[in-house]
């Protein structure tokens, strides 16, 4: 109980954020907005890690560092994803995920 806020509150916020991200991933057609949905999902997970660390194991820093590394991975992922998106844009002149389906059967 830190400052009168239970762990559950953080978890609720993170869960909602996660599924909003899932919703965005499933509905958005634009590749960049899909990428943004993924960032939302990543952030909700980060919040979970940090909250667990602070509330349940305050004597260690594992969740903290995990979050740190996730941020680093997210950064590199975003960089590569955007490179791919730009390449796709060059090839198809749009970034609509439904039109980029060359890799079927």
């Amino acid at each position: 109980m830190i400052q009168g806020i239970p762990l559950y509150y953080f978890l609720i916020v993170a869960t909602i954020m996660f599924f909003v991200g899932v919703y965005g991933f499933l509905t958005r057609k634009n590749l960049i907005t899909m990428l943004m949905s993924i960032e939302l999902i990543l952030n909700s997970v980060n919040i979970n890690f940090v909250a667990f660390n602070r509330f349940l194991y305050p004597d260690t820093l594992h969740g903290h560092f995990f979050t740190l590394f996730i941020i680093a991975v997210a950064a590199s992922e975003a960089a590569v994803a955007i490179a791919i998106i730009i390449n796709i844009y060059r090839k198809f002149t749009n970034i609509d995920v439904e039109k980029v389906s060359e890799m079927k059967y």
């Binding site: 899932v22 991933f25 499933l26 509905t27 899909m34 995920v97 439904e98 980029v100 389906s101 060359e102 890799m103 079927k104 059967y105």
Partner: protein, 641 residues
Amino acid sequence: METNCFNYTYLIILIPFISFVILGLFGDYLKHKISGWLGTFSLFLVFILSYYTAYQYFFNVGKVEGVYQKFVGFNFVWLRFTESLHIDIGGLLDPISVMMLVVISTVSFMVHLYSIGYMHGERGFERYFSFLSLFSFSMLGLVLATNIFQMYIFWELVGVSSYLLIGFYYQRPSAVAASKKAFIVTRFADLGFLVGILILSITTGTFDYVTLTDPNGTAITQGSGIVFLGLSTLILVFMGGAGKSAMMPFHIWLPDAMEGPTPVSALIHAATMVVAGVYMVARLFPIFAISGTPGLEVVAYIGGITSLFAAIVACTQFDIKRVLAYSTLSQIGYMMLALGVSGYGGHEGLGFMASMFHLFTHAMFKALLFLGAGAIIHAVHSNYMYDMGGLRKYLPITHITFLIACLTIAGIPPLSGFFSKDEILVAAFHHNKFLFAVEYITAGLTAFYMFRLYYNVFWGKNVHYHHTPHEAPVTMTIPLIFLAIGSVFTGFIPFNKLVTSDGLPFEAHIEWGIAIPSILVGILGIIIATVLYKKETAIPDKIIGSIKIFHKWAYNKFYFDELYLFITQKIIFKRISEPVAWFDRHVVDGLQNWFAWLANTVSFNIRGFQSGQLQQYGWVFVSGALILVIIFSFYWYSINF
């Protein structure tokens, strides 16, 4: 049994093998003449070595305390299964193998020499000589075998070289068919041989001939305990021998094998390979004789029936080589019969001795007959006797030697055939009167068909030839003369002192009570043939007309080929193979095809899942994950609350 002064005998096998390798690999680069003479020279070396070995064996060192011993000239272990069961390659010298060495090297050398003339200018001259060398190698290895498995190996090698040589004129479909037939029939018989070898080795625990045929050894005493197994084993082993020696009912391949070049017929299908079966039975003779099974009876009856049957067929054939082929069948039948009516040891072993004796003399005169026939064919370019006649003027040497051979086979004294045939008849008389009678009839028939052949070729009508037949070259006539001399004088070799069933010499006399009637029967056959065929007359046709059906049957070889075709094609192929093939094609293959079709169809139908639509994948992923969460939560609840 000791290793001794015979350890050079490995050369006897090695030399033809080297010759085969050289001719086979480098034959194309050698001149015709050189390759021919190379093969002949290697066989000449073998010839010298064999005669030296025979001399040494029979007159110097072979006898220990009056008994001919078995010597192992050389031996090395090739494949070891257990301490006692191993396959060796070696050279065993005892009276029969030494005698066979002499036969093979003599005939093979003569045939090599003859072939230089006969095959002159043929395509594949080097190939021919390399095959001949291969054959000589395998045959010598066969007779020198120290154990039954080595014999089997060389047995198959002999079969292969026979196949290669029968099919030498591979452009001719009939030659190809004949070689296939020979190979398949003998191979089928060898199946029995192999099974027999395996059973024999299981029951006795050894392959080695010396242990196997020791009259007091465990092999025989144990084998006699299991009568049924012993009998089946011996019959199976004999089946291999019958296949190789063309005994009934495996005789069908031998007449067709005459498609090969004539010297090959002389070497393989008259003198050496076809007597391998006889040799094999002789080799295992103690087992046959002592084990107390009726194996020998089977051998005797098959030999007797084959000899009579073949003699009848031979009277009706027109192809001179086929006449000789049936004559060979008949004579090998004699040998088998002689083995079959023999006992073991002493005078009881008369049949064994007679068989070996006849093998020896037969090799000489039958090779001579074939080589003579080769000379005739060489001169006339036809195999059929109605294309021939009056050849005595053109081919004097061939004529004389051929006449000698015919007289020999007819059993006219003092030629060699008389002595050996007489011993067989005596042995048969003392053992089985029925077979004795069969042999009498056969002897008369033999004289008849041989002189039918002789008169038809050398006398009879005067045929107008397109180009005048000429005598064969000297490389062909020398073997003829040599073999003719052999045919005349080999009868005086005292086989009863040299080659006996137990190594002990015994006394044998010509029983004139049996010999004189056999001579008379022979002369009767000759006289009938003279009357019928010396001048061209209408009598033969009349006789044929009066026994039309019988003649037709005999002319068609009693429809044995047709019977085989009926059994194989109508029964085995149609009733068994075709349903099996149908089953294989439709059920076994069908099942596989069905699986392939199923996989194909299913994957074709489900490939839509791989749509390339990222969000579809996302859907599947999310719903799957949710389902897993639900499952795990329920699970978690169920174990916690």
